[in-house]
């Protein structure tokens, strides 16, 4: 790299106060308890069920041809969606933060709509809107997933962009750098962390999406069937163990992405600590 990336620390890690020692432990205990009861316990039941018939059966469940095909399709389409929404996310965040136009605040508010709209409504609408052209094809799945993952990168990039010190950019510009270069060399490196963070969440969300996809994709095995729908099929076929096995795979995938994200964040902010 010709120039070292200039990173503006976006978080100042406050020196933790020792005064909260006892209360801190209590708080930690409460948090962990809540998290365990609400999230971990059900997932533990799931993992347990997936191994109900032994490891051999677990392996067979997740290597069934339809399961593998579904997983491959799910991962590929989620990656595609993540990349698209990462690029568009940065663009949208840029326009929202740096540009000014009437209705900007309204547009900004709308970004979070996919969080608020039920997936069934999203699927219904996309089906009605784009109907014949894309229904029951891979494009339909793409559209649905673009909708539900839209906010992630936008929302993670916005605060960083806002906090960015413009001096660097102005300096570069005054030295003759073109806007594109300024963006590429100065702004973008500062956004990388946020982009990756948002993208990871978007990906995790996309691989698990069910409500909007199931209506619109046609769920053709080996074609447009995503893993969540395949798991659903297993449940309906009274194969809860198989469904659990496939679900555990999905879970491991998402968890893997999130953990990788945390590791990346720690690495990226290593100079701050």
């Amino acid at each position: 790299m010709g120039t070292t990336a200039v990173t503006v620390p976006t978080r100042r890690r406050a020196r933790p106060t020792r005064r909260l020692g006892g209360a801190g432990a209590l708080g930690f205990g409460i948090s962990t308890l809540w998290l365990s009861v609400i999230v971990l316990l059900p997932l533990a039941a799931l993992v347990d069920r997936s191994l109900h018939d032994g490891l051999g059966e677990f392996w067979r469940d997740i290597t069934a041809r339809q399961a593998v095909a579904a997983l491959r399709f799910t991962i590929l389409i989620s990656l595609a969606v993540t990349v698209i929404n990462a690029v568009m996310g940065v663009l949208i965040a840029w326009v929202l933060v740096r540009d000014e136009f009437p209705g900007r605040r309204v547009v900004n508010a709308l970004i979070d709509l996919p969080f608020a709209l039920p997936t069934v409504v999203a699927g219904l609408t996309l089906l009605a809107l784009y109907g014949d052209a894309v229904a029951y094809t891979k494009w339909a799945v793409l559209l649905a997933l673009l909708f539900v993952t839209l906010p992630f990168v936008v929302r993670s990039v916005q605060p960083v962009l806002l906090a960015l010190d413009r001096e660097m950019e102005d300096a570069a510009a005054s030295l003759g750098a073109r806007p594109a270069t300024v963006f590429r060399r100065i702004v973008l490196p500062n956004l990388t962390g946020a982009i990756v963070s948002g993208a990871a969440l978007a990906f995790a969300r996309a691989v698990g999406e069910f409500g909007s996809v199931v209506l619109i994709s046609g769920n053709k095995p080996f074609d447009t069937q995503v893993t969540a729908v395949y798991a659903y099929k297993q449940v309906e076929s009274d194969n809860a163990t198989g469904a659990a096995a496939v679900s555990v795979t999905l879970l491991a995938l998402s968890l893997g992405v999130l953990v990788a994200l945390r590791v990346f964040e720690r690495w990226a902010t290593r100079h701050d600590r």
């Binding site: 933790p16 106060t17 039941a45 568009m88 508010a109 069934v120 909708f147 069910f210 679900s247």
Partner: protein, 265 residues
């Protein structure tokens, strides 16, 4: 004002329009198509009214619980040095990553009649699954990360000097929290609460599996939309969707008013 700036704006807004705005505008249009009177009738049937209140009730339970947890957890993550913090932080994001089908299945396996806890709870006379508690549990699951994720960075950024000063001056932990910490994070907190509320109201997948869909009892607004759609009552489905979209927009409006610090210049 350059051509490139306009181009960027055009592309960004165009994309948003295609992916986001047009579908939502379409719902609202389809909703109002039969006329306001028909829409009103559609959303005031006994089942619709009940579904509305049930949805609100579930959110009214789930969101405060999530907020409480979120606040406590954020304090732990940003203000303490308890070992295991980072594991906690990683696990917080789990609900984002779990498919609704998986959540529903997992809750089934835990609280169902043959699940881990099901029989024990049944003996105690508690019905979790197929009743409101089950719906609340599924909703709390999906809302879990929201408040934490909004408050923690704010806490970290704000720093604890003011809090330390307060303590030095003799304030009790509770006073410090109420007078210093809370006001400092209030906008992040509000934003997290609003997000969690929107999510709670819109949850469909996991609730669909655990609710039992007893009309007039465990049918939420999102389930009602699906049912009407299934029964070819498209006008009714759109009416209920429109209601949901309206609530969603109201939530977002609240967010715009709150104007989350650092979102838009």
């Amino acid at each position: 004002m350059t051509a490139s700036r306009l181009a960027l704006r055009f592309v960004a807004l165009g994309y948003l329009a295609a992916i986001l705005v047009v579908p939502v505008a379409f719902i609202l249009y389809k909703t109002l198509e039969p006329g306001p009177a028909a829409v009103w009738r559609s959303i005031t049937t006994p089942a619709a009214v009940h579904a509305f209140w049930l949805t609100i009730e579930v959110a009214a339970i789930a969101v405060p619980l999530t907020t409480l947890f979120g606040m406590v957890c954020a304090l732990v993550l940003a203000r303490t040095r308890v070992p295991g913090r980072s594991v906690l932080e990683a696990l917080i994001d789990l609900p984002f990553a779990v498919s609704p089908v998986v959540i529903g299945l997992a809750l089934f396996l835990l609280y169902g009649r043959e699940g881990w806890l099901g029989p024990t709870l049944a003996e105690a006379g508690i019905q979790v699954i197929f009743s409101v508690p089950g719906i609340v549990l599924a909703t709390v699951f999906v809302c879990l990360p929201f408040v934490v994720r909004e408050v923690t960075p704010v806490l970290r950024e704000v720093g604890d000097e003011a809090e330390q000063a307060a303590t030095t001056l003799g304030a009790s932990p509770w006073q410090t929290f109420r007078r210093i910490t809370l006001p400092a994070v209030r906008w992040g907190l509000a934003y997290g609460v609003v997000l969690a509320t929107a999510r709670a109201i819109g949850e469909f997948g996991a609730v669909s599996v655990v609710s039992g869909k007893v009309s007039g009892e465990t049918e939420t607004l999102t389930l009602l939309v699906e049912k009407r759609f299934t029964n070819f009552d498209l006008a009714g489905a759109y009416a209920a969707s429109g209601l949901l979209a309206a609530i969603a927009l109201a939530t977002l409006l609240a967010m715009t008013l709150i104007n989350r610090k650092g979102a838009v210049a």
